[in-house]
Every structure is written in C-alpha cells, then in structure tokens.
Amino acid sequence: MPADAVTTSLAARATPLLAAVALLAIFPFVGGKFYIDLMVTTMILAIFALSLELLVGRTGLVSFGHAAFFGIAAYATALLSPQASAPSLAWLLPAAVVISALAALGIGALSLRTRGIYFIMVTLAFAQMAYFVFHDMAFAGGSDGRYLYVKPVLALGPYTLLDLDRPLTFYYSTLAAMVAVYALLAMLGRSRFGHALAGIKANEQRMRAAGFSTYPYKLAAFVLAGALAGVAGFLYAVKDGFVNPEILAWHQSGTVLLMLILGGIGSLRGAVLGAFLFVVLKELFQSEAVFGSFAKHWQLPLGLTIIACVALMPNGVTGLPAQLRRSRVPVPHAG
C-alpha cells in the first residue's frame, strides 16, 4: 500500500473519532446535570469495556471475571483513602491500578494454564472468589461496602490542579482517561506486542511452532487489561463515593462482555459504542415513562435483547454495515 493511502485511511478513520471526542467535550454545556452524570458513568464503563477488548478482541481470551479487577481497584481506592482529608490523585490512582494489576498477575498466571471453556469458567470462579473476599471479610465492610469520604485532588505545592469533587473537573478527567486508554490500546495494536497478540488470537499453535512463547504475552495482556480495568474501577469509586461487593458480582462481568458484543468485537470503537448502547438500553428498559410498572422487570427485555443481538448481529453494531452488505450481495462461489 502506498504511503499516502495509509495517511488518507488514517485521516478517514480519525475524523469520526475526533468528532466524537469534540461532541463529548461540549456535552456538559448542553446536557443537564442528570445527563452529565450518566455520561460520566458511560465513559467509565467504556474504559472498562476497552480494557476487556484487549483480552477478548485482541488476544482471543474470553474472560468472564473481568469485574474482579474493576472491583478490586474500586475497593483499594475506598480503603486507602483517609477519612478526613483529601487523598492525592498522584499516589491513589497508581496505587489502585498497581493493586488491580497485581491481582490480575496472580489470577492470570493460574487461569492462563487453561484454555477455552476452562478459561471462561476459571476466570468466573476467581472473580467470585474476589467477591467473597470483599463480601465476607470484616475489613471491607461486608455487604454494606465502604464509603469514600473525601474525593481525591491533584495538588502541586499550594496550587490545586484538579479537584475531582467538582463535577466538571471529574467529567473532563474521565473523558481524558478514556481518550488516553483508547490511544494507548490503539498504539499497542500497531506495536510488536499487539501483533504478537493478534497472532495468538488467530492461531496460537502456529505462534508456538514459530518459536513464540505465548504464555508471557498472554499474561502481559491479562495484567495490562486488569490494570486498565483498575483505572475504570478507580473512577467508579471516586464518582459514587461508595463501593459494595455488587460491583465485583458476576453480573458485572457479564455486562461488560455484553457491551463488547453489542458494539462489535475486535475494534476499540466497538467497545466504546457498546458501553454507550448498553447504557441507553438499560435506561430505556428501566424507564417507567416507557414501560410503566413493568420497568422493574427490566432484565427480561435486556435478556431477550442479548439473545436477539447475539443471534442476529454477532459482529455488533460496528459490524452491521458489513453484515448487511454481505446479505444483500449474492455470495459468489467460494474459491
């Protein structure tokens, strides 16, 4: 491919992304307080989904326990914060991320000894173990959870650079985090490491036959995904100022997988889009204005939607145009 073709395709791909970021940047000026809040939640979920995309989409590892790392970082954030004064973002965020990365190192080292169906079940089981650690142990506050009393700030000497207690500051910090995670994963996809992961996804046997030791690569991807889920967990704890075991529950792991498949597996855009779609669907099904008293049974339409989506558009929303093209054009003879 000639060099200018690469740049045009890059520009063509970057334009909608930049437009989306610009829209998100001006959103607080047009949206009401409720919608700004909802958008922050959505962006946090998008970071969470992006972190899982690294495993599922890039490496072909279907983890059903990703909520563990989200929740561990959220708990670390709440437990490490002092009760009376504002913790510094400069150490609290790295601490939460390192803790979730270490948890991912331990769980990943064991889970990656298995593959396929086993891997799905083992990651689910380990996430459930993390759930019980926070649910049963006294230090974590049991099923009531823990509060984060004062939100973190980033200060340089006497100047407060960022105060996450201010809604707009938090909004833009979350947006910046999402863009940073997206950019990191996009760059990673072009790196040697990213190509190795793609090779593992396509044919692990062959990678090993070619002399690649795949286990360290998979473990590195697992740890990085855990760390990025930790970023999302940190933001979640700061946003709500409250954590409880439900954020590690296996429904959370199922939800984030659902976001990926809604958006389309194998693309970063898909992960972000999936998070947005999920929030829209959930708000719709929970809306009493639309469903009346049936809204409390919102998981029924959600479950049916999941089944229908997976059955009818397995490539998600981002794969829909290609899927429609394929079904319209008569398939030529194979060969």
Partner: protein
C-alpha cells in the same frame, strides 16, 4: 470437635457434595458432549426448587401424596422442557463461538429470573418435607440429625448409581462415553448425534431440576439460588475435568468436604476456600482430575 459433631459435619458434607453432583454431572455432560457452555444450568436448579414449592400443594390436592407426586410431575415436565429447549434454543449454539454461547445463555438466565419474579414474586419460601421424613435421627447420646437430609443423600446415591449404570452398561451410555471423547467420530459411525444431544441435554436439565426439587425443603426457595450453585458447579467441573462424570462425583464430594469443614473450622474464609482448592488443583493438573478424551 467431638466425634458426634464430626459425624454430623461429615453427613452435611456428603449431602452437599452429592447434591452438587446432580447439578454438575449434567453440566459436565453438556460441556463434554454438546460442546456448549451453558450458564443457564443453575437456572434449572432454581426452577426445580420453585416447582417443588408450587407443585406440592397442588399435587396434594389433586392426587394426594404431595411432595413425591410433585417430584414425579416435575421430572416429567423438566424432561419435556429440556427437550424443547434443546430443539428451540440450544441447538442454535453448537456452531457458535464460546463467547456467543456464554452471552446467549447469560441472556437466558436474566429471562428465567425475571419470569420467576413475575410469576412467583421475590419472596423467600419454605417447602415442607413429607411428614414421615420431617423428624430427626438420634446420633450418639446428644446429637440428632434431620431424617430428610439422610433421605436426600440416599436418593442422590441412588441417582448417581443409576447414572453410572446407564453410562457404563447401556447402548446409549456407550454413545455418551464415545461422544465425550470424540464427537466427530461418533457422528461418522452412524449414531444419530442430534437425538443423542437432545437426550443428554434433557437428562442434564432433569438432573438439575431434580436436585432443586429435593433441595427445596432444606435450603428453602429464594431468588438467585441458581447462580450460587452454577458457579460452584463450574468449580466442580474444572476440578473434575470436562465430560467426566466420575471426575464430577469425586470433585463434588471434595468441594462438599472443603466447604462444610471450612465453615466450621475457619468461618472467616468459608466463602473462598473452595476457590483456593480449585487454584491448587489448577496448579497441579490444569486439565482437571479426570479428563474425558
């Protein structure tokens, strides 16, 4: 811990392990033979418990006998239900990737839970055991043990024996064993694989529903009861090895022992001990204790 307490805990462990086996054996056969990861398997257990709750008064009124009539009706219903579900839903999952199977059966869980909520509500219910089993048995000089729990363990042993005989001695059992080790080969040898799949799935559903029904008087009936059992059953399948009924039996008993004695000896860590056991087995044998094929 004196001997009588030890004995009671052993009986509890046995009863819990055997109950897990009923759920996990179906799960492991469905994995091993159909190649489908079925998250909704825990829902069948939940459905069984609610069936016992809903059918027992009705059966007592219609036929007399109550609990056992309800169980008989429940088994028939569950086989029909499993057969129809395989035909109408699960059979579409065979050609799909694991991730899609996970999500579609996860969607099914949400549907089952909400239907349960709409039909029966979200309250916790008790189910009475039949009158002649409601008492307790004297153990030693001071301890007693509920008769129903003993009965339950006995029934589970009978079911496990029956399962063993069917799998090791019958033609269909032969096809099941062959299917667990090499699906394609069985198909090419002329076994009607679609029928085999349907039978295995219906049997798996019936086992889980049966487990839910007989567990109802002990555990009571509550929302979300299936999920707990599902995840522990996964642990059992991982420890025992996919597709291996023998492995499932051994692993269920092991999990029952660790969980029961963990709760007595180190109550703080009761919830996580089973997973620690799984981690240890994974370190030692990543493919589980017995792997079929």
């Amino acid at each position: 811990m004196d001997f009588a307490v030890f004995l009671v805990q052993c009986l509890n462990a046995l009863q819990y392990g055997l109950l897990l086996f009923l759920v996990a054996s179906g799960l492991t056969l469905i994995f091993g033979i159909l190649g489908v990861i079925n998250l909704a398997h825990g829902s069948f257990y939940m459905i069984g418990a609610y069936l016992a709750y809903a059918l027992a008064p009705w059966a007592a009124e219609q036929f007399g006998g109550g609990f056992f009539t309800a169980i008989a009706i429940g088994i028939v219903l569950s086989v029909v239900f499993g057969y129809l579900l395989e035909w109408g839903f699960v059979s579409y999952l065979y050609q799909r990737e694991h991730l899609q199977q996970v999500l579609m059966t996860y969607g099914l869980i949400l549907v089952f839970e909400e239907l349960r909520s709409i039909l029966v509500g979200d309250d916790v219910h008790g189910v009475a055991p039949p009158a002649w089993l409601a008492g307790s048995v004297q153990l030693g000089s001071v301890m007693t043990y509920p008769t129903y729990r003993l009965f339950m363990s006995g029934v589970c042993v009978l079911v496990a024996l029956g399962l063993y005989l069917v799998i090791s001695r019958t033609r269909i059992g032969m096809a099941i064993r062959a299917g667990a080790s090499n699906r394609e080969m069985v198909q090419s040898l002329g076994v009607d694989i679609r029928l085999l799949y349907r039978i295995v799935f219906a049997a798996g559903v019936a086992l889980a529903v049966f487990a839910g029904m007989i567990a109802a008087p002990v555990s009571s009936v509550y929302p979300g009861m299936g999920n707990q059992v599902l995840i522990i059953s996964f642990v059992v399948v991982v420890i025992g090895g996919i597709g291996s009924v023998r492995g499932a039996l051994l692993a269920s008993l092991l999990v029952g022992l660790v969980d029961t004695f963990g709760k007595v000896l180190i109550p703080q860590t009761a919830g996580i001990l089973v997973y620690v056991l799984m981690a240890a087995i994974l370190l030692w044998r990543p493919e589980g204790l017995f792997r079929a094929g």
